[in-house]
Amino acid sequence: MAGHSTYVPRTAFSRWLDERLPIIRMMNDSFTTFPTPRNLNFWYTFGGILTFMLVVQIVTGIVLAMHYVPNAGLAFNSVEGRIMREVNYGWLIRYIHSNGASMFFLAVYIHMFRGLYYGSYKAPREVIWILGVFIYLLMMATAFFGYVLPWGQMSFWGATVITSLFSAIDQVVPHLGTAITQWLWGGFAVDDATLNRFFSLHYLLPFVITGVVGLHVWALHVPGNNNPLGIDVKGPQDTLPFHPYYTVKDAFYLALFVIFFAAFVFYAPNFFGNPDNYTQANPLVTPTDIVPEWYLLPFYAMLRSIPQKLIGVLVLVASLVTLLFIPWLDTSKVRSCRFRPMMKQLFWLFAADCVLLGYCGAQTVDAVRFGIPLLWLARIGTAYYLAFFWVLMPLVGWLERPKKVPDSIAKPVTGNKSAAGVKA
């Protein structure tokens, strides 16, 4: 919550600096005294965890770039030979980076679902949500470019499939889609030129993400945090200073998260990986099953569920663009699902739907489970994904009778008595 600054420079130097560049004042107001709702729970610690993961990925990435060679003939060996076997601790830094991508996406999905559940995208926080969607899209692009760099079979064929999505434009304007894909490739196929430019962009985008994260936090600090009750902060009795209350809470859960992260790095470093990526890229042989990384599987399932190329690509694009419209698709006046009995059930159904789509995306296209072709499950899942946002969200806002929301944050947290005491 933007409010009156309480910072008082204590030394002659900080007074001098404050009049010229009030950077200490800004840090103090944003991260020390910043009034934060007193009822934020565990799910609100993922913003801090995500910031940490961004730093981890940039630091390990810069180190890996010192040893990596972006050349189609040398890339695979520079990763699997040099970095993994020869560079001191190269294996560790690479496994931190590759598992870090999965942890980053795990944290961002929790962060997004938390925002959906507590209605954090609603007025006056629409811009925070939209900036968040842009960060998510940038993360997907960065992860895609990064996955190509080791130049394994999955790297190569993943790059081929994703860049070929643009060739669907051929069905609207003949030859334009092919021209765009060849422009993206810098050749007639994914090759050396493609690898070089993907490396360049993979290095660039994290810094773009950092910039948008700055805007995201800036936009957050105008209205302040939403909270599990989804009601506005009424006064100082509803808030706590960010430091030490939330710095300590964030640090505690960050420590738990890092233990979880380290368990994969040290004990199951290839858990999220695909064995085909330990084979060097071969443009003449496609692996029998092309599977993207787990965090892209739901979208892959949606793409595959449509038997027509152009429509499949359009559904994939729609599933992402839809996220930008959520603030206006939700017509309910109540933010938090705690007080929205219908929305709460549809939300959990949506979460289950995303898991189902992810499962379908990981199986072969003709797979059958319990007598049900997964292709049909993916179709139902895709329909629910889109209907959840475009039909159910607007409709439920009108149909649903929300429960009564509390009068203030302080009341359910501290009880009537002490809240009254603070007020008096």
């Binding site: 499939v161 810098g186 007639f188 196929a189 030129a193 430019r197 003449l284 092309i290 027509q308 296209v365």
Partner: protein
């Protein structure tokens, strides 16, 4: 004195300066866009010659052309007869997609090759670019005897024509010619 609603010489100069500036930005942007296109070295490598005499009927050999697999398959008389019997009206993509013929040529089997025995196509699935697997009597792939793409399940017949989605088009026939009885030049 000009009033606010009148167009003055100054307004003209503003618009003219802005327009020249925009054209300048566009001209400056073009090199940064065009540098992404295939380089002259990549374009220079775009044609290839191959001797296909050793390929037996029913067999396929894969060459590499422009970074892509190129399928050269010698068809058996039975396969040719099957492909010729399919009416164009049954096809998903009614166009030949043959770079040696006009764009509007129909996808009859005869329009898909130069010599009936030899079907030569780019081995890139027209859906999302995977390499389809060849179907042989010993190891059939799909229902049409041609190729099956494992990525998303598209199927092609022995003329390389798509018979089952999601691929929208027939496998592309590259520009090629016979420079000898069993020697081809592609590209």
């Amino acid at each position: 004195m000009a009033t606010a609603t009148q167009t003055t010489r100054r307004d003209f100069l503003y618009v003219a300066t802005g327009a020249v500036g925009a054209v300048g930005v566009a001209f400056t942007a073009w090199p940064f866009i065009d540098q992404m296109n295939p380089t002259s070295a990549v374009l220079a490598m775009s044609s290839m010659e191959a001797d296909i005499a050793a390929i037996q009927p029913g067999q396929q050999v894969v060459f590499k052309w422009r970074g892509h697999p190129l399928f050269v398959r010698r068809r058996t008389p039975k396969e040719i007869a099957e492909a010729r019997a399919v009416p164009v009206s049954q096809l998903i993509d009614p166009l030949a997609r043959n770079a040696n013929l006009p764009d509007s040529a129909p996808a009859t089997d005869a329009n898909r090759e130069i010599k009936p025995e030899w079907i030569i196509v780019v081995g890139v699935c027209t859906h999302l670019g995977c390499t389809p697997t060849v179907s042989t009597p010993q190891s059939p792939q799909g229902e049409y005897g041609g190729w099956l793409c494992h990525c998303h399940g598209s199927q092609y017949d022995v003329a390389g024509r798509v018979r089952k989605g999601p691929a929208p088009q027939n496998l592309a026939v590259p520009p090629y010619s016979f420079i000898g009885p069993t020697k081809i030049k592609v590209g």
